[in-house]
């Protein structure tokens, strides 16, 4: 078992965001987390990678690094692309001892090649397009060979072609690193192309768990409303915020 979430509950001030949520993701599996805005999808990722603590419940993650690709890339804007990708290798003790400057250069070049962005080491983040920034953040995330990768709306705000490129990287990274992945997304294309399993959140709870195919073709009343993007249905956008 690579990631196991048991009876997770999380509130912010008076508002409960997650209530008794449980799910499992196996080694090398990609789980898509979907739901309306404010349903607690990003909170799940922040809980898994330790950015915030649960009120109750348990999160068991198998050994190894956890990487996260943020919605707006979160590249360090005072550092260039090379420094962004090499950041963990240069700042963390265990990597500082392990790699020389030349080796770090090689790793950065290899990772940039993996995401199809060779030769942009000296560019600053603001000189890159949204899609390129996202790919650089992929390269930064995988530099430590993580066993778990979390994607927070990795394709949000990108054009369809860039989205497809990102989706292909998600699958490729899983195949190459055998990393367990969780994708938070609103996009059906991402679910179809990448996910092995889907969970849907509404009103602090999981209202659907299944495969992408089942979700798109049948599922339940919640997934049908989500897939058809209908206003009519059990989910109300206003109440989820």
């Amino acid at each position: 078992m690579s990631i196991e979430v048991k009876n997770l509950t999380k509130s912010f001030k008076d508002k409960t965001v997650l209530d008794n949520v449980s799910f499992k993701v196996d080694d090398g599996e990609i789980l898509a987390v979907v739901g309306l805005s404010g349903a607690g999808k990003s909170t799940i990722l922040k809980l898994i990678c330790g950015l915030t603590k649960p009120d109750s419940g348990e999160i068991i993650v198998s050994e190894g690094d956890i990487a996260m690709v943020f919605q707006y890339s979160a590249l360090f804007d005072s550092l260039n692309v090379y420094e962004n990708i090499a950041f963990a290798l240069k700042e963390r003790k265990e990597f500082k001892k392990k790699y020389s400057e030349d080796q770090i250069k090689e790793i950065v070049a290899k990772n940039l090649k993996t995401v199809g962005l060779e030769g942009i080491e000296n560019k600053m983040p603001h000189e890159l397009s949204g899609g390129m920034q996202k790919r650089v953040s992929f390269a930064r995330a995988i530099v430590t060979n993580p066993s778990t990768i979390l994607y927070d709306e990795a394709t949000a705000g990108l054009d369809p072609v860039s989205s497809t490129i990102i989706e292909d990287y998600i699958v490729r990274l899983r195949n190459e690193l055998n990393a367990t992945s969780i994708i938070v997304t609103h996009q059906l294309s991402t679910i179809k192309r990448c996910a092995d399993k889907v969970i849907m959140l509404y009103n602090e709870k999981i209202v659907y768990q299944g495969t992408p195919q089942d979700m798109i073709e049948g599922g339940n009343e919640y997934t049908r409303q989500f897939v058809t993007a209908s206003i009519e249905g059990p989910m109300k956008a206003a109440s989820s915020d």
Binding site: K46, C49, G50, L51, D65, I66, A67, M68, F70, Q71, Y72, A74, L75, F76, D77, S78, F87, A88, E91, R92, R140, T144
Partner: protein, 269 residues
């Protein structure tokens, strides 16, 4: 009762009370966070978690970036003081004390406090907005996910740089202040150069210089720490960054006034 409660909730008294409560909550939250982060920074320094490359970068930024504005502010203030004081002192026959007065004023108070104000506006505000932007754009979250301690990476180099470089800035600005005071005394009251210089020597005391340097080190560290903490507590978007910067400037002004008072009380009373 219900309608009374409703009416009360709409009243100005209730809203004013609520606003005050929020302000108080924010005040104690910031104060508590400054205390916690101060302790955190001290612990990291004690454990030798010093990245000298980052510290040197911050030192150069702290001193080089702030120097033109600091020298201008201290220089101008000393010119104004000399222009107002020197003619009066000459009239009273105290020409030979003008330099001493300037030296005591600058070394005991003006050099450090005016440099502190300049540093707050130049460096403190920059630190706060930088850290706040990192907070609201999830860069601090990215640091944590990459298993890099944001306090060690962002706070420690800035606080150490402030502690080391502020006395350097104060030495330069005080020297410029004395020179500007001399020039202004000469131009406004014809105080001779020799009189002024010999008087300055009489007014310079080792204790004053040492206290000024110690005080400025505390000023530098406090400005850096408070600015980083205010940035770190930021939330929201552009408005959050703006509020964090304003808060950093206000808190830093108050902090250096308090530190100044404590040090003056310890060494001069």
């Amino acid at each position: 009762m219900t309608s009374f409660a409703k009416l009360f909730k709409q009243s100005a008294t209730y809203n004013l009370g609520k606003l005050l409560a929020l302000q108080l909550e924010d005040f104690f939250e910031t104060l508590g966070e400054i205390g916690i982060r101060f302790w955190h920074v001290l612990r990291l320094i004690a454990r030798g978690k010093l990245n000298w490359r980052h510290i040197i970068e911050q030192c150069s930024r702290f001193a080089v970036d702030s120097l033109p504005i600091t020298l201008s502010i201290v220089g101008m203030t000393c010119i104004i003081i000399a222009m107002q004081v020197a003619p009066e002192m000459v009239k009273q026959g105290g020409e030979k004390y003008v330099g001493a007065l300037m030296a005591i004023t600058i070394t005991r108070e003006l050099g450090a406090i005016m440099s502190g104000f300049a540093i707050i506006s130049m460096i403190g505000s920059a630190y706060a907005s930088e850290v706040a932007t990192m907070r609201v754009t999830e860069q601090i979250d990215a640091l944590k996910v990459l298993k890099v301690d944001p306090i060690e990476y962002l706070f420690v180099p800035r606080v150490v740089a402030g502690f080391i470089m502020m006395p350097v800035v104060v030495i330069f600005s005080s020297t410029i202040g004395l020179i500007c005071g001399g020039v202004a005394s000469f131009l406004s009251a014809h105080v001779s150069k020799l009189n002024y210089i010999s008087s300055v020597w009489q007014g310079l005391f080792i204790k004053d210089i040492n206290v000024a340097l110690l005080k400025s080190s505390f000023f530098g560290a406090a400005i850096a720490l408070i600015s980083c903490v205010c940035g770190y507590l930021a939330y929201g978007g552009a408005k959050g960054v703006g509020l964090a910067t304003t808060k950093a400037v206000v808190w830093s002004f108050v902090a250096i006034a308090i530190i100044d008072y404590i040090i003056a009380a310890i060494f001069f009373f």
